[in-house]
Symmetry: C2
Subunit: 201 residues, 2 copies
């Protein structure tokens, strides 16, 4: 990877770094050199942080979020509404919604979407636990915050069908023009959705 001239420790580090999303072989080499150059300021703390994450990070058995405690910080936060439950595909989506600051609520992480072609069926997602949480009562609104993709929307429809009999309002994210978006660059589907869901000025 570095032409075989660096020691096996460095070769191995480069190979592992190259498996991170966003880093290829070339940037993994740059990252390895950067780490070695900043041994005390960056390499050592990163080694420690990985070790800490390895031992302490757990998946919340209630909602599927990851945290160093179970139930997670969000599930333990008494200020968060129990009326509304936001269903997301991944922990990354949960983090994105939290960054938006738009809602202080609880979540349920599915762990993906239904995808028959990839062999991912209902049993592979956290759907049974979702049904149990809703059936246990207290949830008034279920927000399906799934990606606006074919798989995401198919999964949303599946959930709406399965949980439609329970006494809960099911909503989904609005479709429309993204903030800062220029119409000329948007696809037809987004524009059509934005027109259909137009709101009073």
């Amino acid at each position: 990877m570095s032409g075989g001239v660096a020691g096996p420790e460095i070769e191995r580090l480069i190979q592992l770094l190259a498996r991170l999303p966003g880093l290829g072989p070339r940037s993994a080499r740059r990252a390895a050199l950067h780490l070695i150059r900043k041994r005390e300021e960056l390499l050592a703390p990163l080694a420690d942080a990985l070790q800490a994450a390895r031992t302490s990070v757990v998946t919340c058995r209630t909602c599927g979020n990851i945290d160093s405690r179970d139930p997670c910080t969000l599930c333990q936060d008494q200020r968060r509404s129990r009326d509304t439950l936001v269903v997301v595909e991944t922990v990354a989506d949960l983090w994105a919604l939290e960054r938006s600051g738009a809602i202080a609520t609880r979540y349920h992480v599915l762990g993906g979407t239904l995808s028959p072609l990839d062999g991912i069926g209902p049993k592979d997602l956290n759907l049974a636990s979702l049904a149990r949480r809703v059936a246990a009562g207290g949830v008034k609104e279920l927000v399906l915050a799934l990606n606006a993709t074919v798989d995401g929307q198919a999964t949303a429809h599946y959930i709406a069908n399965q949980l439609g009999d329970l006494n809960v309002t099911i909503t989904r994210l609005a479709l429309g023009v993204p903030v800062g978006g220029e119409l000329d660059y948007l696809d037809e589907g987004t524009l059509a959705a934005a027109i259909r869901s137009r709101t009073p000025f």
Copy 2:
């Protein structure tokens, strides 16, 4: 960074990953989630590899390369010519030349370029050790494989001036059209250099 909803261990991991070249805050979050998802296949080996690099990687006191031994593998390689010494700015450049497979020689890593504006003078680079290596004799040709940038070329001129009195031939990399390059996309400086240094067909 993740909206403060993940535990402090994850926050710290994200912050450190974001300091790697090539990763920003968003890709650092993705990388952290990827690592946590692949805890045994990737996170644990990466933690171990960083720990190994932290303790075992040293800078070669002869040439400035990094390796797990000093003198480094290249300096110990008896098959490599001692006649020619290739001067590079960084270890990354050394690796790049080794990948090219064009020359089996020894190197001298300067650790950067002269840059008066950034306060980097001759004493901040491995120039004294280069002069000592050349003065010790045995080196017939010094190849200045520095970047074709203003700083790189200024540093090359400085070295040529300093070592010109020693009995050594000083060369530099050819300037010209990169292999696979299309003339229409190249800058004028490169084209002018390629014309000036044209070779018989």
